[in-house]
Amino acid sequence: MSETGLTGRIVSVNGPIVKAVGLTGAGMMDMAEVGPYRLIGELIRFQNEIAVIQVYEDNTGLKPGDTVTTSGRPLSVLLGPGLISNIYDGIQRPLISLEQLTGSFITKGVKASPLDVDRKWSVDITAFAGEEIKSGIVIGGIMESEAVLHRIMIPPGVSGIIEYIAPSGSYTIEDEIYRVKTEKGIFSGKLANYWPVRKPRPFREKKKSTVPLITGQRIIDTFFPIARGGTAAIPGGFGTGKTMTQHALAKWCDAEIIVYIGCGERGNEMTDVLNEFPKLVDPRSGRPLMERTVMIANTSNMPVAAREVSIYTGVTIAEYYRDMGYNVAIMADSTSRWAEALRELSSRLGDMPAEEGFPSYLATRLAEFYERGGYVDTLCGTEGSISIIGAVSPPGGDFSEPVTQHTTRFVRCFWALDKILADARHYPSISWIDSYSEYLDDIKGWWTGVDSAWHEIRTAALNILLEENRLQQIVKLVGPDALPVEQRFLLHCAEIIKNGFLQQNAFDTKDMYSTPLKQMKLLKLMLKFFHEGNKLLGSGVELKDILAMPGISELTRLKSEIGNDEHEMIDQFEEKLLSGMFELLRNIKDGASGV
C-alpha cells in the first residue's frame, strides 16, 4: 500500500467503469477520486498500464483526459461513536448531512464526514498511562445512545505501552485521546478510525454458538431457529413479504445492535423504518429501537457500484460492534440486488459470464460475505456475534436460480417464503415444508431451559403439519369426507396451528412479538387439544361435537388476545377446554350406560 497518492488520466468511460493510465504502483482496491467532481471510486483491476476504476457515484459528463487521484489507502469506513441511529448510503456518506448540503436530491460529488466531527462525546477513560496494551483492549467508554455503551478499543495492529492518555472528559472524534509507544513508533489514538471495507476485522477465535437469536416470530423461534452468530436466507418472489419479515426481525430480535442494509430496494421502505423505529420500543432495553440501529440505504435508483459495496460497509460496521462484545444482527435486503450489481459491473468489465450472466466469482463473494458472520471470542476478551439474515429475490420466485442456489450452500437456516401463503395473506409466509434450520442441535440446551419438552413439542407439531400436507394431496383427489375421522380431525388441528400459531400479525400489539414461553404454552395447548381430541374420538365422541365445543374458534385468537406476560390466562383457557372435553366424554359414557 503506497501512502502517497498518484495522479492519472482517464482514457475511457463505460457506465460506472472507468479506465485510466498513469496509476501504476497504486494499490489494488485503493480508493480514488475521479474527475473534476472528485467522485469516489475504487481501483479494482490492473491491465498492463491501464487501471480499472469502479466509480460509486453518477459519472455522467466524465471525459477521457480528466484526472484520477488515488488516496493511497483502500476504500474504508470510519468507525467511531455516532454510527448508531445514523443512516448512510453504500459508501458511508451520511444521508442526513447530505440533505443539509444539497437538499432532497443527492447531487454528484457531494461529500460529508460519516461521523459528526464537531460533536463532543463524554468519554469515560478507564486505562492508565504506562499500561501495556494490545489490539482490541478497551480503554474507555462513551454512552453512544441510551441503549448502547460504545467501548473505545485499541485498533487492530497496535500494541505497546500507553505513553499518554487523556483524562475523562468531552472530546470530539478528532481529538487525541491517547498515545501508544509501539515498535514502529508512536501511535496517536483517536475515538474514530478507518478500516478497509473488504477486509474482515480480526478476532481471537470462532466458536460454536449455543444460544438462539430470539426473534419473537413463532415460526422461526419454535420451528426454524437461528443461533446467535448464525446465517439465514429468506428467499421469496415479489410480494411474499421478504421486507416485512426483515422488518419484523429487525424490530424484535434480541440482538443488541442491528445493522439494516437496504441494498437496491425501495426508498419508501427505508423511510418506513426511519419513521417507525424511533417510535417502537425495544422490549428489553425499554428504549426506542432506533437507538440500537445503524442503517445503510442504497436504494435501487442510487448508483449501482455503491450498491455492490454497501453490503461490505454494513458488515464492517457490524464487526466493529461485535468487537466491543455485542451481539449484532445484520439484515441485508436484498442480496440478489447486490449480486445483480456484481453482474452488471462484471459485464462492463468484459468478464466471461457463468450462469445467467453472473460472474464465476459470485459464489466466492457470497461465501466471503456470510463467513463474516459468526460467534467469536473478541480481542478484548469478551464474546460477540454477528448473525446475518439475507433476503434473496429469485427472478420469477424460482429457487433454482444461481443466487438462491449458491446462498443455500453458505447459510444454515433457510426460511423459504411461499407464494400461496402470501396470496392468502398468511404472514410471515415462511413455508413449514421447504424451510429448514441446521441449528436445532446447537441450541437445544437453551430451549430445554424454557421447556424441557421443546424438542418433542416441535417435532410433534411439525409432524401434524407435514401429515396435513400429505393428506391434502389425497383430499385434492377424493375430498375430505372420504378420510377417516382421525385424519379429518388432524386437518382441523393443523388449521388451528397454522392460523393460531404460525400466522402472526406484525401490526397487532399483542401478536407482533411472542416470548419463547408464550410460544411454548400456545403450541402445547394446541397439541394437548389434538391428543385429547384423538382420545375422545377413540371413545366414540363424534368429530362434529368436538368441533362444536365452545372455545374452539378462540384457540386461533389466543395469540392476539393474551399478552406476553399473561401466561396464566393460557393455563386457564386450557382448563376450560379440557373440562369441556371431559364433559363430552362423560356424556358418551352416560349415554352408553343409559342404553
Partner: protein, 466 residues
C-alpha cells in the same frame, strides 16, 4: 442562440449498428453527453454517448439510424446532458417521446431546464406515503388501496381492459380529506394510436385535459426514443410536484415496450444478456424510472405512478413484470379467466397487492374495520380457490356444506364486489359494506382475521341459507 464553448463537431462516423453510431477522432467527449446528428438534408436527430474512449465515442440515436449515412453526416457534441424545459404551461399540451411539442402550438419557453435522468431522492428526505386515494373501484380501494405517492403498476395481458382501468382511476381518483385535484402526466411508449387517442379522449371527457401533459412515442416512432419518453414525462412531473406543489398522477403505458427498446439497444451494443435477452441492468434501469415517485418531506406535492405493462402470454414470471414487481409497491394483476367471464374490472383477487395499504387505511383514514375486512376477504377467497380446484375433481355435489357456502361466497365476491361498471364510482363506505355483505354468506366462526369488536359491529349473519 450562442453556441456553448464546449460544442464540438465531427464527421468521422466509423460505424452504424442498430440505433448506435460510432464516431472516431473525438476529443474530450463526456459520458452521457448530448449529441446532435445533422444530415445533409438539414434534418437534426439527437443522441447520447454511451461509451467514450480517448478518440472514439459510441452514440445512441434516439430517432433511430434509418437513413443515416457514414458520409456527409455531422455529429455535434453539445457538452451537456439531455435536458428538457419544464413549465406549468406544459399542461394541456401534447409532446413527442423526447418532449418536443407536436400539437402545433409553439415551443415551450422556460428558464428551467432539467436533466431527463433526474437525481435520486435522498431516502432520508422521503415522506412516507399515507394518504388514501379513493379510486371508486372496490377491488382497489377495498383490497389493494392506492396511496398518494405510491407506484402501483397494472399487470395486464393483451386484449384486457388495462387502459380503461387506468382511465377510470385518472377520472375518479380523489383524496377524501382535501379538495386538491390530480394533475395527470401521461406517457405512451410504443402503443397504437387508438390507445393514445382513447386516453386523450377520456381525459377530455372528464374535463381534465387542460390539466394534463401528454408524451407520445407511438408504435411507429423510433423504438430507441422510448428510452427517453418516461424520463421526460417524469422530469415534468417532478417539477409540477416538487416545485409547484401539485399532486401528479403519472400513467406510463406500456412498460413492456420500453423494456423491449432497452433490449434492442443492449443487444446492438453486444452486451451479455441475462434472462430472455434483456440486459442484466434491467432492474436498475426500471428502478431509475419507478423510484421517481413518492413524497418529499416539507413539500406538498406528490407523484403517484401507475405504470401499465402487458405480460407476454400472461406470464407473471416474465422478466418485465417480475422485475417491476420487485421495485413497485405492489401490483394490480388482471386475470384472463375473470375477463373471459365478462367481469369488469377483471382484477385478480389473490396476486394483486398494495404494499402501502397498511398505513393508509384504518381509523381516521378509511374505517377501523378496513384492514381486518380486507385480510379476511383475501383469506376466504384463497380458500375458495382451493375448494374450486377440489370441486373440479370430485364434483360440486361431493363438497361439504361449508365448502358450498364458500363457493357461494366466491361467486358473489366476483360478481358483486369485484365487478362494477366503467362509470360506477363507489365510495369507500359502499365498498366496505359490500365486503361485509359478502362475508355474511359465511358463518361467524370462519372470520378469524377480524377483531371481535368489528364482527359485533358490522357482521350481518345470513339467515337465508339456513
Amino acid at each position: 442562440m450562442v453556441l456553448p464553448v464546449s460544442e464540438r463537431e465531427y464527421m468521422n462516423v466509423a460505424g452504424i449498428t442498430g440505433p448506435l453510431i460510432i464516431v472516431e477522432g473525438v476529443k474530450g467527449v463526456g459520458y452521457g453527453e448530448l449529441v446532435e446528428i445533422r444530415t445533409p438534408s438539414g434534418e437534426i436527430r439527437i443522441g447520447q454517448t454511451l461509451e467514450v474512449d480517448e478518440d472514439k465515442a459510441v452514440v445512441q440515436v434516439f430517432e433511430g439510424t434509418t437513413g443515416l449515412s457514414q458520409r456527409n453526416m455531422r455529429t455535434v457534441f453539445l457538452g451537456k446532458t439531455l435536458e428538457i424545459p419544464v413549465h406549468r404551461e406544459m399542461l394541456g399540451r401534447i409532446f413527442d417521446g423526447l418532449g418536443r411539442p407536436i400539437d402545433g402550438a409553439p415551443q415551450v419557453v422556460s428558464e428551467i431546464m432539467r436533466d431527463v435522468n433526474g437525481l435520486p431522492i435522498n431516502p432520508y428526505s422521503r415522506e412516507y406515503p399515507r394518504d388514501f386515494i379513493q379510486t371508486g373501484i372496490s377491488a382497489i380501494d377495498g383490497m389493494n388501496t392506492l396511496i398518494r405517492g405510491q407506484k402501483l403498476p397494472v399487470f395486464s395481458g393483451s386484449g384486457m381492459p388495462h387502459n380503461r382501468i387506468a382511465a377510470q382511476i385518472a377520472r375518479q381518483a380523489k383524496i377524501l380529506t382535501s379538495e386538491e385535484e390530480f394533475t395527470v402526466v401521461f406517457a405512451a411508449m410504443g402503443v397504437k394510436f387508438d390507445v393514445a387517442w382513447f386516453f386523450i379522449n377520456s381525459l377530455e371527457e372528464s374535463g381534465v385535459l387542460d390539466n394534463s401533459a401528454i408524451f407520445l412515442s407511438l408504435a411507429n416512432s423510433p423504438s430507441i426514443e422510448r428510452i427517453i419518453t418516461p424520463r421526460a414525462a417524469l422530469t415534468l412531473a417532478e417539477h409540477l410536484a416538487y416545485d409547484l406543489e401539485m399532486h401528479v398522477l403519472v400513467i406510463l403505458t406500456d412498460m413492456t415496450n420500453y423494456c423491449e427498446s432497452l433490449r434492442e439497444l443492449s443487444s446492438s451494443r453486444g452486451e451479455i444478456p441475462s434472462r430472455k435477452g434483456y440486459p442484466g441492468y434491467l432492474y436498475s434501469d426500471l428502478a431509475s424510472i419507478y423510484e421517481r415517485s413518492g413524497r418529499i418531506r416539507g413539500r406538498r406535492g406528490s407523484i403517484t405512478q401507475i405504470p401499465i405493462l402487458t405480460m407476454p402470454s400472461d406470464d407473471i414470471s416474465h422478466p418485465v413484470p417480475d422485475l417491476t414487481g420487485y421495485i413497485t409497491e405492489g401490483q394490480i394483476v388482471l386475470e384472463r379467466e375473470l375477463f373471459n367471464r365478462g367481469i369488469y374490472p377483471p382484477i385478480a383477487g389473490l396476486p394483486s397487492l398494495s404494499r402501502l395499504m397498511k398505513d393508509g387505511i384504518g381509523e381516521g383514514r378509511t374505517r377501523k374495520d378496513h384492514a381486518g375486512l380486507a385480510a379476511q376477504l383475501f383469506a376466504c377467497y384463497a380458500k375458495v380457490k382451493r375448494i374450486r380446484s377440489l370441486a373440479a375433481i370430485v364434483g360440486e355435489e361431493e363438497l361439504s356444506k361449508m365448502d358450498k357456502l364458500y363457493l357461494h361466497f366466491g361467486r358473489s365476491f366476483e360478481e358483486e364486489y369485484l365487478s362494477q361498471g366503467y362509470d360506477e364510482n363507489r365510495d369507500i363506505e359502499t365498498t366496505l359494506s359490500i365486503g361485509w355483505k359478502m362475508l355474511s354468506f359465511l358463518p361467524e366462526e370462519e372470520l378469524y382475521r377480524i377483531s371481535r369488536d368489528d364482527i359485533q359491529r358490522y357482521y350481518i349473519p345470513d339467515k337465508s341459507g339456513d
